[in-house]
Symmetry: C2
Subunit: 226 residues, 2 copies
DNA sequence: GCGCCAAAAACTTGATCAAATTACCCCAGA
DNA sequence: TCTGGGGTAATTTGATCAAGTTTTTGGCGC
């Protein structure tokens, strides 16, 4: 029984019939977010056609979407690859993440009820175990789940869309950093965020989020290819 | 000799061979940005196939991209349409535009040379004539050109990508507002921006941009369907 | 090193199948 | 007879695939 990370992350309890191009998109998206694809790695349409056993049209649609997301990069001569981040890119991502995600957590602080916050705490506990065990894929999955669940509470679809896009850009590089430094080097700001949510204190939440973002992004900056 | 707005806006001096899916994307993108498609309007694959004389795979790719951009909206039952903005959407767009575009103009203020600023001033003059003449399409095209040229000077690809996406979201609604109120109601903050650029004063530029953004978005908010 | 040739991959199209909407018709009830 | 509702048929549209065409790449010989 083989079950890859991306299969787990994309499996749904409700067996709705998703179109093939959607399945391919979600699958590759998860591979990028959770580090199964390395920065700089080449992606071919044919490769995905053979790997996933679908026709070429759905694969093409999924790839165009991912390029638009910034999750993949069009290299000009018909080549597609996972982007390599420059230091300048990381600096832009830092600014954008701080702007967007701090606002999301501010809004979430005003709107989330205690049930939703409990759910968040539950995810954070799973995240803690992953960190203790040095489980890098688990860390990536739960860390992403923590943020997306948090943002869902903000009821801000446009900002959430922007935030998800930013995560797709640094996902592969985050995986590399974890592989190099392990998960220990991430002190947990999530506890501060949760406390701020319970107090319904937007500015405290935004401050904790800013620290969380900075920690992650500085790690990525240090792990950049020289 | 018929030449629509989107044809003009996408025509390039260099007749490079772009793939059909790219041509379709640029074409529909321009139609959305410059108001040839109304909010709520339905988009069909077959319609574009017939209108543009290309196969359906390139059209599908272009549509997926535009959906990912937020320029089009997937309505669940296989239907695609130009999004209608809610007041909440506009509020999110205001925050995002202020964050991203003010930072872009700050960076541009530190990097643009006087030749580039001259180019910007030239575009702004064309914009002024369009306003005087009540030329709404011209206003939309030149206004967009002003901002993209300005942002190009910031050398910040990630932030530029985010900003372009935001423009795609409110493009159709901006067209509606112009049609209702005309172009007179847009006092010109661009002069302030240009002066700030010449002084290389990032904060003055950011402030002028913030006013420009607020003016445009408040117009859109007031023009929202009741 | 330069150019030609072969193989692989991307691009495009047309055909086929499935799903959804629309049109239409028939019948019941006023 | 007229009207309205329900159900079915036809058309429209979307989804997928496979084949043909074009482009790029990489190797090989000169």
């Amino acid at each position: 029984m083989k079950s890859t990370l991306s299969e787990l992350a994309t499996s749904s309890t409700a067996p709705e019939k998703h179109p093939a191009h959607e399945v391919v998109y979600q699958r590759v998206r998860a591979q990028i977010l959770f580090g199964e694809l390395a920065p700089g790695q080449a992606i071919t349409i044919q490769g995905l056609v053979e790997a996933l056993g679908v026709g070429m049209t759905p694969v093409r649609e999924a790839i165009r979407r991912l390029i638009s997301d910034g999750a993949l990069m069009f290299q000009g001569n018909r080549r597609v690859s996972v982007p390599l981040l420059s230091l300048s890119d990381v600096n832009e991502l830092i600014y954008a993440r701080k702007s967007i995600e701090c606002e999301l957590v501010r809004r979430a602080a005003l709107r989330m009820n205690s049930t939703q916050i409990d759910k968040l705490e539950e995810i954070d506990l799973a995240l803690d175990s992953a960190i203790r065990d040095g489980d890098i894929p688990g860390y990536l999955v739960h860390n992403h789940a923590f943020h997306t669940t948090l943002y869902t509470g903000a009821h801000a679809p446009v900002l959430i869309d922007l935030a998800e896009r930013l995560w797709l850009r640094f996902g592969p590089s985050l995986r590399v950093v974890c592989g190099r430094f392990g998960t220990q080097s991430f002190p947990d700001r999530h506890k501060d965020i949760i406390e701020a949510l319970r107090r319904q204190d937007p500015e405290m939440a935004a401050l904790a989020m800013e620290r969380d973002v900075m920690q992650g992004m500085e790690q990525i900056a240090q792990g950049l290819p020289a």
